[in-house]
Symmetry: C2
Subunit: 409 residues, 2 copies
């Protein structure tokens, strides 16, 4: 029995889906494809529509929401769910903003919503959380969740490119979002972590609450420091739960060779889950790109056809879904032109040192302060692994500065 | 609605399951637990039975088959499936021997059979193959699939233990099977690879066909060689498919630092899947032990309760399930006391060299010959990564031998 499919969006992801669907035994080719820009040149083999009602008029069984816009995506998805239609979405920004309402619409009208492609594209992390980990108690979930910023870090570390060169390359390859600032300032990661927290811990915290610091201000000093210590910098998102509650933050982090994130390069994403019974698991795969993301969308369609839906098994529906995050300290290296910024943000400092007009300090920062600092131009932050002492950091920094001096003499 | 559960076996896995079930909201405590040895001392809190009919008399909804014996496991599982009961099994030896019959029983009588714990214990590889990869075209699947032999290799490489010491430690920790020779000679891995091949490629090849060489003959020379080249030895199972058919083998393999298997230590297992659309994915997690394996069993129960079953989606049921494996050459380093062994097994040799009474050669071996050599005492084999030239190998071997000479002078 063929099913009717309506598709919104025919960009990187929509075209990836289409290319895959055409090759399958079950050619789930959309009846209608709605796009936005009437002036764009398009393949003449496919008929496009510019009116979203065209999709609904055909009474589709499934809707694929693969557009870049967030408000309209919410409109299409919620309209479909109200009609009891199953929706597949890749739109983390939209999902992260509206999951509580969308969960409610699923319950009331019986349609399903699947969105594996929205977090870590090709990696089946949401499916695994909803099946394999359904009855396990998750302690922490950590990830490299933005393919484009990870690609930039790889090009900087492995090929010596500048930040700007690396960003342009990521855009050329189609890994970056239409507005790349979301990729590099951690905002895209916050959407994804917010979704993961719901599936791992059963609570909706909202991405505004998630302490976020991106890679946009990473300077040569921090890169040289990492290299001189044999470490790499990765943009790590982390959420953990203990008896007090949930904490979560996103911050560029120094990782050592024995950390499985160390080897995650280019557009790959990775997720590490620590739980009471299954203990620790690590998944790595393509986190962006047309085919891996399109395949995750196609996979959701097959799962839905087989009767699969998310149970939101960690959610206790008798209690409020919303939860306030804890604000526990994270140990960081901070660099700033202003000593005041350091003094007002860092507590228990292990040192404060001025080198070449920059203030450096190692100490703890309250996650809440991260997001405020993320908007400043001249502050850079790195989370530190426990084993790294402040004297190691200081020695390396001084070494780097000295060799720079020698270079410029 | 509570479900009736019958449990066979209360060893490492059975107890792990029990410990987890007791803590859950849905306390899926078995009505009946059947074990074998009437003389064993057991906890007085739990009532045991020694008669398998006790399980069936209670009309269970689910049966957990967690025993160490293979023939009786098949009896219990097939009897249950004939009654349309859903069966969860961890018994790779039994499954690998009987999957075609068991698939047929599922079709005829409508009961389901799930067995995530049987391959890579805690890692949801079968579930992912059956859901996320259902419509993707898998090119290769590779893994570290035996926790106990991986643990032994880690102790040898990282702590300088001897083979025997490391094996005893693995047994003490409960990672080794009751007969540890299955762990170290690759036989346990062959059962698992056989199961994976069915889910990845839709064909039943049978473990007897899978070319298998274990770690039991790994000598100091091979370990010193790996170390001097900055590499590690891992017991890797690999299956791949191209237009000609499927090839598969299990062999100790030299891996380089950039290979994700390099960092897989101790009782961890890992699986790497390469496919057309999702491209490459890598999963790592506990591959043995009471809680991770028990959690995988509990997870299967929850999945079955939610309506999940394996679709065997890669299988074409209009064609024979059995398939003959290809016999393509694998590039190895071979070491033997007998030059004849080398000459009759290695083709396209890059060198043959006698050092200290041992013959070493780098060349290709037909997978078929691996299993024959696996039964000999004095032959050792290592698969080589492509980048490693035979002159690198030779130079390292000669270096090792020279420093040994110096040591003994
Ligand atoms: N790219 C990735 O690797 C990736 C990975 C995971 C998730 N995602 C998510 O997947 C979604 C799509 O990303 P993408 O990379 O495919 O974006 P894209 O290449 O920019 O394409 C966006 C598509 O959406 C269409 N569109 C925008 N607003 C629309 C509207 N109101 N109605 C109908 N169509 C509309 C555009 O139409 P026009 O053709 O007329 O411009 C275009 O076809 C986003 O939510 C993104 O965050 C992307
Ligand atoms: N250990 C692991 O980490 C692991 C991981 C993955 C899969 N597995 C698989 O899981 C299965 C169980 O392994 P295990 O490590 O739990 O073994 P185990 O510790 O040796 O325990 C085996 C249990 O099976 C019982 N048993 C044996 N024959 C029986 C029979 N005919 N009828 C009823 N009970 C019988 C034994 O009874 P008694 O108590 O009377 O001796 C014992 O309770 C095996 O197939 C194994 O390959 C194990």
């Amino acid at each position: 029995m063929t099913k009717r499919i309506g598709l919104f969006g025919f960009g990187v992801v929509g075209q990836g889906y289409y290319q895959i669907a055409k090759k399958q035994k079950e050619k789930w080719i959309p009846d209608t494809i709605v796009v936005k820009d009437q002036k764009k040149r398009r393949s003449s083999d496919i008929r496009f529509s510019y009116d979203s009602q065209d999709v609904f008029d055909k009474n589709p069984d499934y809707i694929l929401e693969l557009i870049s816009n967030m408000e309209e995506a919410y409109e299409y998805a919620s309209e479909a769910l109200k009609r009891g239609i199953t929706v597949i979405s890749a739109n983390k920004k939209m999902l992260s903003a509206h999951l509580p309402e969308l969960i409610n619409l699923q319950k009331v009208f019986g349609g399903k919503l699947l969105y594996e492609a929205s977090v870590a594209a090709g990696i089946p992390v949401i499916t695994n959380l909803e099946t394999h980990f359904e009855e396990d108690n998750i302690i922490s979930i950590e990830g490299i969740l933005n393919g484009s910023s990870n690609y930039i870090l790889s090009r900087i570390f492995n090929n010596g490119l500048s930040f700007g060169e690396a960003l342009r390359l990521a855009q050329q390859k189609g890994f970056a979002e239409s507005d790349p600032s979301f990729d590099i300032n951690g905002s895209d990661v916050a959407s994804k972590l917010n979704i993961l927290i719901l599936h791992a811990f059963g609570k909706f915290v909202g991405e505004k609450q998630i302490a976020t610091f991106g890679i946009q201000n990473l300077g040569e000093d921090e890169i040289a420091l990492a290299k001189s210590l044999g470490l790499k910098i990765k943009l790590i998102a982390k959420a953990e739960k203990d008896y007090r509650g949930i904490s979560a933050y996103i911050i560029p982090t120094l990782v050592e060779e024995s950390n499985p994130f160390f080897g995650v390069e280019n557009e790959y994403n990775a997720v590490k889950i620590n739980s009471e019974h299954l203990q620790d698991q690590f998944y790595q795969g393509k986190g962006a790109g047309s085919l891996p993301t399109g395949a995750a969308v196609y996979g959701d369609l097959i799962k839905a056809r087989n009767g699969f839906g998310y149970n939101y098994s960690k959610v206790n529906f008798d209690k409020p879904l919303d939860e306030k995050l804890l604000n526990l300290g994270v140990r960081v290296l901070i660099k700033s032109k202003s000593e005041e910024i350091i003094e007002t943000n860092i507590f228990s400092p292990e040192f404060i040192k001025c080198i070449d007009g920059f203030y450096f300090s190692v100490g703890k920062i309250k996650p809440k302060n991260l997001s405020k600092l993320n908007e400043l131009k001249e502050v850079s932050l790195l989370a530190l692994p426990d084993f790294l002492t402040s004297s190691d950091v200081l020695k390396s920094l001084e070494g780097i500065k000295k060799s720079e001096e020698l270079l410029f003499k």
